[in-house]
């Protein structure tokens, strides 16, 4: 796997900027005036109590929702209103809070499906499963096998994912997102419902993806230990507003964050 090389964006440049974004559904305000940025090559955590608007934020970033106010700038360009598949082609991949795999397909096919946008051979060759279609299939299979090796899921390569245990499903979902060779990887609670060992494995994979391939990662997580260890910078949301932004140390000692998590004495 290669890191997507884009010389314009060296490590440390702003990859994605969220400026004064608000999102409302009728009378309900999910996000109010949120601004932060994600820099190239970093692991950015988005945390906050339940209902703080973390998932809504991710949904704005990958095009499920369009912010009612404010703007999102990706790779230096203000994003127009777009559909999720356009965001995906732009280089944003994502995993879900509740695993959203293609249940009837095998692990291999799930990850291969993640390569769909990279495949070019036309309908005619697909019909005959020959020539360019087969060559491409093998080429991408090679890439997918690298991901499978990387995530240590060789033994479940041909198993239908619907029957796999939860921890492995999460891993396959990460594999599927990696298959897109994203520039920005959004992870929505990658460790929810995992035991300690599975969390350790997942943390290792996240760090390796970040370090080996230079993929920028934005993750939502509730396990504070994991967040503090993994992330370079943390943004904290509460009731749709940003209440803190900074390194894990700064955030940990921020009075408003402590209040949000532990409650305020009245």
């Amino acid at each position: 796997m290669r890191a997507p090389d884009n010389p314009v964006f060296a490590k440390g440049d702003v990859l994605l900027a969220v400026d004064n974004v608000s999102l409302g559904f009728g009378g309900v305000k999910a996000l109010t005036d949120v601004s932060f940025d994600i820099r190239k090559g970093e692991i950015r955590a988005i945390i906050g109590p339940n209902g703080a608007g973390k998932t809504s934020m991710l949904n704005c970033i990958n095009g499920f929702y369009y912010p009612t106010e404010g703007r999102i700038t990706f790779k230096g360009v203000k994003r127009p209103k777009m559909r999720p598949h356009e965001a995906a082609r732009g280089g944003i991949a994502r995993t879900f809070q509740n695993v959203a795999l293609f249940k009837s397909m095998s692990t291999l096919d799930n990850i291969m499906a993640g390569r769909s946008i990279k495949m070019r051979s036309n309908f005619f060759w697909q019909l005959f499963r020959h020539g360019p279609a087969m060559k491409e299939e093998v080429e991408h299979r090679r890439f997918v096998e690298e991901i499978i090796d990387f995530l240590e899921i060789q033994h479940i390569r041909k198993a239908p994912v619907g029957k796999l245990p939860y921890g492995l499903q999460k891993r396959v979902e990460l594999g599927r997102a990696l298959a897109m060779e994203p520039e920005l990887l959004l992870l929505d609670e990658p460790m929810a419902g995992m035991n300690l060992e599975e969390k350790e494995d997942m943390s290792r994979f996240i760090l390796e993806v970040n370090q080996q391939y230079g993929t920028t990662i934005a993750l939502i997580e509730h396990d504070m230990g994991v967040v503090m260890d993994l992330s370079d910078r943390v943004v904290v949301l509460e009731y749709g507003r940003k209440i803190a932004d900074g390194t894990p140390q700064e955030v940990k000692s921020d009075k408003r964050v402590i209040d949000a998590y532990l409650g305020v004495a009245h």
Binding site: N62, F64, R83, P84, H85, A87, A88, R89, A93, R94, F96, A100, L101, F102, K103, S104, M105, D109, M112, A113, G114, S116, I117, M119, S121, F123, Q126, L127, F128, R129, A133, M134, E136, E137, V138, R141, R142, E145, R176, M180
Partner: protein, 361 residues
């Protein structure tokens, strides 16, 4: 003991991603194809005309609907109408250009129903499930209305019916009153094998994965850059192509002539039942479904009187008819309870069991 995976090692990704990775499966498939061709020479004309030709035609239509409903998860009740478009298009083409070989027109006619199918597939971006089924019902009624009301489609034939003109291939009549069941069976068989092979290539490659992705989790699919509209419309087009060709075969190589009402809503349901009982998302299931729903009643019609006569029970044809319906109905319910995923899943489980036999796993 003969059915084992042992000793067959894959040394390349091409071999590993083969559609039939097991040598025994490939041999079995070869034998079935040889037997199907041999049947043309040993089977009598009743078997070919009344059993095998319709079985193959319905299998092809089921494959068409299976691509849409089974693989892409879009429920359609317009199958009958899309078959009709194929049949009428084929009629217009072969009467307008009689010098071109009719096989070409049969295969071309599918493109007309593909276009119509894609058009009626447009609502699928916004609606799914039962609501989409109702939207495709519009196609069923509108197209059937066209078949009745536009006499141009039947070349202003006063009877309003389609009839199969005499057409030949290498000097042998393959269509029309002079064509023997044997030649028609061979033509249908060849077309069905060819199209099944192409469908199998499609569903095992990138396009098939995109279809299944849309079916299993459309939001996640869209998030991976799969364009939902294009993918769904492609499924509608390919599905309708198969239905269209099946419709042309049905009228011109099986019935030899037909009116608009063979393409009514009952035909759509008939094909849908075949797909559900055969197994959604399985090509071989399409054949199983067609066999169970079409061939089983015929077999029962022959076997039942023979089974009852040794007991001195002689029953009228009407009673046999009723018994047939009851038994087929009961079997459908039985199969759906035993395996809701259709006969294809039973087949798969059976093969899996055979692989490890005599051990349980």
């Amino acid at each position: 003991m003969l059915y084992r995976e042992a000793g067959q090692f894959k040394t390349s990704y091409v071999a590993d991603s083969a559609i039939f990775p097991l040598r025994q499966d490939r041999i079995g498939l070869g034998l079935i194809i040889v037997a199907a061709y041999a049947l043309a020479f040993i089977g009598n004309s009743f078997l070919l005309q009344a059993v095998m030709i319709p079985f193959l035609v319905f299998s092809l239509a089921s494959i068409g609907l299976n691509i849409l409903t089974g693989y892409t998860g879009l429920l359609s009740l317009g199958t009958g109408a899309f078959m009709g478009v194929g049949a009428y298009a084929c009629y217009k083409l072969m009467t307008a250009f009689p010098e071109v070989n009719v096989i070409v027109w049969i295969l071309m006619s599918g493109f007309f129903s593909a276009a119509i199918g894609a058009l009626f597939g447009l609502p699928s971006l916004r609606i799914k499930g039962f609501y989409l089924a109702v939207a495709t019902l519009a196609a069923q009624f509108f197209l059937q209305w066209c078949f009745i009301r536009i006499p141009w489609l039947v070349n202003y034939n006063v009877s309003g019916a389609l009839d199969a003109p005499l057409r030949t291939l290498f000097g042998t009549p393959i269509m029309g009153p002079n064509a023997t069941p044997q030649t028609r069976y061979l033509v249908v068989l060849t077309i069905v094998i060819l199209l099944t092979w192409l469908a199998s290539n499609l569903v095992h490659g990138r396009i098939g994965r995109m279809w299944i992705a849309i079916r299993d989790m459309d939001l996640a699919a869209e998030l991976m850059g799969i364009r939902p509209l294009q993918t769904k419309l492609l499924a509608f087009a390919v599905s309708s192509y198969y239905c269209g060709v099946a419709g042309a075969l049905l009228v011109f190589l099986w019935y030899g002539g037909a009116e608009y009402d063979v393409f009514n809503i009952n035909q759509s349901f008939f094909i849908l039942f075949m797909v559900i009982i055969g197994g959604l998302g399985s090509l071989i299931g399409s054949f199983f479904g067609a066999a169970l729903i079409f061939i089983l009643p015929i077999v029962l019609g022959i076997v039942l009187p023979a089974m009852l006569s040794p007991f001195g029970i002689s029953v009228g044809a009407d009673v046999i008819e009723h018994l047939r319906f009851m038994i087929v109905g009961a079997l459908i319910i039985f199969f759906l309870i035993v395996e809701p995923h259709g006969l294809a899943r039973l087949w798969q489980i059976g093969k899996q069991k055979l692989l490890v036999w005599p051990f349980p796993y």
